[in-house]
């Protein structure tokens, strides 16, 4: 496949482009910026004025090569300190797919940023330097991807040109990482030997590594099967907003607007509304463009029911025989994200879960997880910035929740400090009851 075949994203009308969100983790040393720059450049998503600006700044700073990190390290603080301080989002497309990259910095605040980037990712891309092999950081990144239940993981063994394209080096790293991933919850792992600098196995298959029989990185990103990642079994429709037109032309209309979290909703389906437990049937699934036969994730629709029920924002439409838990005592893995104040047992916070808000008190901290060794430290009394632990919470109202491993939308929540209004933590429900 040549570069030329990639550019005109709209020429391929036979099959609509879909969307893949992926997170990248790694540091400048691993060649991550070079890799992303290469993907953008080879898919013609990097513009000449952007490149010229980066080249000029690189030259002025005396960099030996064009520092592609400067493409999005546009904030003053980043340029001054030569670091990346936040998740940057970048976009490119091929005729098959549109890609959204959440590019997370490797060192600074890596846990907070990586968790943020991974929370919406279909796939995570981890880079290692072939000369160094797996380092502590690679294991941390893999662990965070598994904690956030990113369905697909890709390990890029980079700088293969610097190890003479050695199959042996590649296989040693691939084996070691595969063994480590087996201890985690990684549903799908692909390992690709690449040279981001030289472009080997990025867009086209490398001629320098004939022993590698897998796809190029872009080929994999374009074709990795993500449709089955969606949960189409458990009907979960968090009611976001009730549409009731105050109009003389549209009367007696009452629709429940929201985005389908999981499952498939069809007119005629019997449904149950939580927390009330009332049942009804779906009269219609509507969009502004007209009614649809079925709704599934990630569609934003408006559901109308055959009965008039008292339903408001924060309620959940599900099926009578397949409902989420309605729980006030929650066990969750929590990643703490606030630098000013740690999570403490007894602390009170606000919670946002699906479209529902609650207040919560921290009832217990079972352990803090050392994400390098996976060791559980049960002696700690608080979680500081970038620390992860297992927490027990009691909420003021029931959350309508599933385990995070079964449902990323109804299993995740954020913790908000009520005094500062800052988002201070991310939680993934382990079990409830």
């Amino acid at each position: 496949m040549s570069v030329e075949t990639l550019a005109p994203a709209e020429s391929d009308t036979a099959r609509p482009m879909d969307l893949l969100r992926f997170a990248t983790a790694g540091s400048v040393d691993d060649g991550k910026s070079t890799l992303i720059g290469r993907l953008l450049y080879d898919t013609k998503s990097l513009f000449t004025d952007q490149l010229a600006a980066v080249e000029a700044v690189s030259a002025a700073r005396g960099d030996e090569y064009t520092n592609l990190a400067l493409l999005t390290d546009g904030l003053r603080a980043e340029r001054e300190q030569g670091i990346t301080i936040d998740v940057a989002y970048r976009y490119f497309a091929t005729p098959r797919r549109k890609f959204i990259i959440a590019d997370t910095p490797g060192h600074i605040q890596y846990t907070r940023n990586m968790v943020t980037g991974a929370s919406t990712a279909d796939l995570a891309l981890i880079l290692v330097d072939a000369r160094k092999g797996l380092v502590e950081q690679s294991r941390r990144h893999a662990f965070l991807c598994s904690l956030l239940r990113v369905p697909h993981l890709v390990l890029c063994v980079n700088k293969m040109d610097l190890v003479d394209w050695s199959q042996e080096v590649y296989e040693r790293i691939a084996d070691e990482f595969t063994a480590f991933a087996a201890k985690l919850d990684v549903p799908d792992l692909t390992v690709v030997p690449v040279s981001a600098l030289k472009g080997d196995n990025i867009v086209t298959r490398s001629e320098n590594m004939p022993w590698y029989e897998g796809p190029s990185l872009l080929h994999h990103l374009e074709r990795v099967h993500i449709a089955s990642d969606r949960n189409l079994v458990d009907v979960r429709f968090p009611v976001q907003y009730v549409i009731r037109p105050q109009s003389t032309t549209v009367t007696d209309y009452r629709g429940y607007a929201g985005q389908v979290a999981s499952g498939v909703l069809k007119p005629g389906d019997e449904i149950m509304v939580l927390p009330s437990g009332f049942t009804s049937r779906i009269a219609a699934v509507e969009t502004a463009d007209g009614p649809v036969d079925e709704a599934f994730p990630p569609m934003s629709v408006t559901v109308r029911l055959t009965d008039e029920l008292d339903i408001s924002r924060g309620d959940m439409i599900c099926r009578p025989n397949n409902a989420p838990m309605a729980v006030q005592d929650i066990e969750a893995m929590v990643c703490w994200m606030d630098e000013t104040r740690p999570l403490q047992v007894g602390g009170r916070y606000a919670i946002k879960h699906t479209t529902r808000s609650a207040r919560a008190i921290v009832r217990g901290l079972h352990y803090r997880l050392d994400i390098n060794s996976l060791h559980r430290d049960e002696t700690v009394g608080e979680l500081k910035l970038n620390e992860i632990g297992r927490v027990r919470l009691r909420t003021t109202v029931p959350l309508l929740a599933d385990e995070y491993r079964r449902n990323r939308t109804t299993g995740g929540f954020v913790i908000i400090d009520e005094a500062t209004n800052r988002t201070v933590g991310a939680g993934m429900i382990v079990e409830a009851g």
Partner: protein, 303 residues
């Protein structure tokens, strides 16, 4: 039984669903939202998404135009027509009025991009808006690449890029104290090409200046500026006629046109797909001030 492959949506549908979710979230959680409507293509797409998000009800918030006084007449006409069609309340925050009242002073270079900010902030305070929808996209500019969908602004409207709230899953945190506000960017994940594909798909009419037309321009710093009452040729600059279109629509004194024969939406899509220069790079004099021009404006409360 339908195969799982059937349960797939196109990238445009996925983007649309996300934007609609964001807009509903704002209306459900915030007290007084407003949509910033300039008559530019991004705010036009945003308005279409707002229609879709609340149908069959009307759009449940007003729109606001921060009017620099340097307008393209086609764009003002479009604005007024669109607002009338949708029965929306239009609030105009006027830079010329603020200049008359002495609230702001004209900058030395005559560009009004920077002095829009205090005018915007004054209108926000006067109307007590707590959520402002903006059409900014992350692909536009590197400071915007790090912007949140829900972007917190303090009581001075300032953005603090080092102190942003983590944004996970689709859980947006719009909490704020009185006087503070949230800028909301429903098009965060759209690219220029996505916007044009959507305009084509939805058959959304645009102000005519987005399509190729003949116009009298001068060339300055490698960019083509229309000669009009806000933009005068300097000595030595020779106006000439050229076939151009506008890739972005902003203040008429600092928005440049590009040479183009694209007079239909299909041709514009072809042109945008093939272009090798970013839209702001090709058309905005105001971003050329420095590497961090956008970040600096945003810190002061710009969109």
């Amino acid at each position: 039984m339908t195969s799982p492959a059937a349960y797939q949506v196109s990238h445009l549908d996925a983007l649309e669903a996300e934007s609609i979710f964001v807009m509903r979230e704002v209306v459900a959680e915030m007290e007084r939202p407003v949509l910033l409507f300039s008559g530019g293509k991004d705010s036009i797409v945003m308005l279409r998404l707002a229609q879709k998000a609340f149908a069959p009800a009307n759009i449940p918030f007003p729109v606001m135009h921060v009017d620099t006084g340097h307008n393209f007449p086609e764009v003002l006409d479009y604005r007024d027509q669109r607002v009338a069609e949708l029965g929306l309340q239009l609030i105009v925050a006027s830079v010329p009025e603020a200049l008359n009242k002495g609230l702001v002073r004209e900058s030395a270079d005559g560009m009004r991009n920077r002095i829009q900010t205090p005018v915007l902030l004054e209108a926000v305070e006067k109307h007590r808006f707590d959520a402002l929808f903006g059409g900014a996209r992350r692909d536009e500019e590197k400071a915007r690449a790090k912007e949140r969908v829900f972007s917190f602004r303090d009581e001075f409207g300032q953005w603090d890029p080092k102190n942003q709230r983590p944004e996970l899953w689709a859980l947006y945190n719009g909490r704020h104290h009185p006087g503070e506000s949230i800028r909301v960017f429903p098009l965060s994940n759209w690219t220029e090409l996505d916007v044009w594909h959507y305009i084509a798909r939805e058959r959304i009419p645009l102000p005519s200046i987005y399509y190729a037309h003949e116009r009298e321009v001068i060339e300055r710093d490698g960019m083509l500026y229309a000669v009009n009452e806000f933009f005068r040729a300097r000595a030595g600059e020779q106006p000439f006629k050229a076939q151009v279109r506008y890739r972005t629509v902003g203040d008429a004194s600092c928005t440049a046109a590009v040479r183009s024969d694209a007079d239909t939406v299909e041709k514009v899509i072809e042109e945008v797909a093939a272009t090798r220069i970013t839209e702001r790079g090709a058309t905005r004099g105001d971003d050329r001030v420095s590497e961090a021009a956008m970040e600096d404006r945003k810190r002061e409360g710009y969109f």
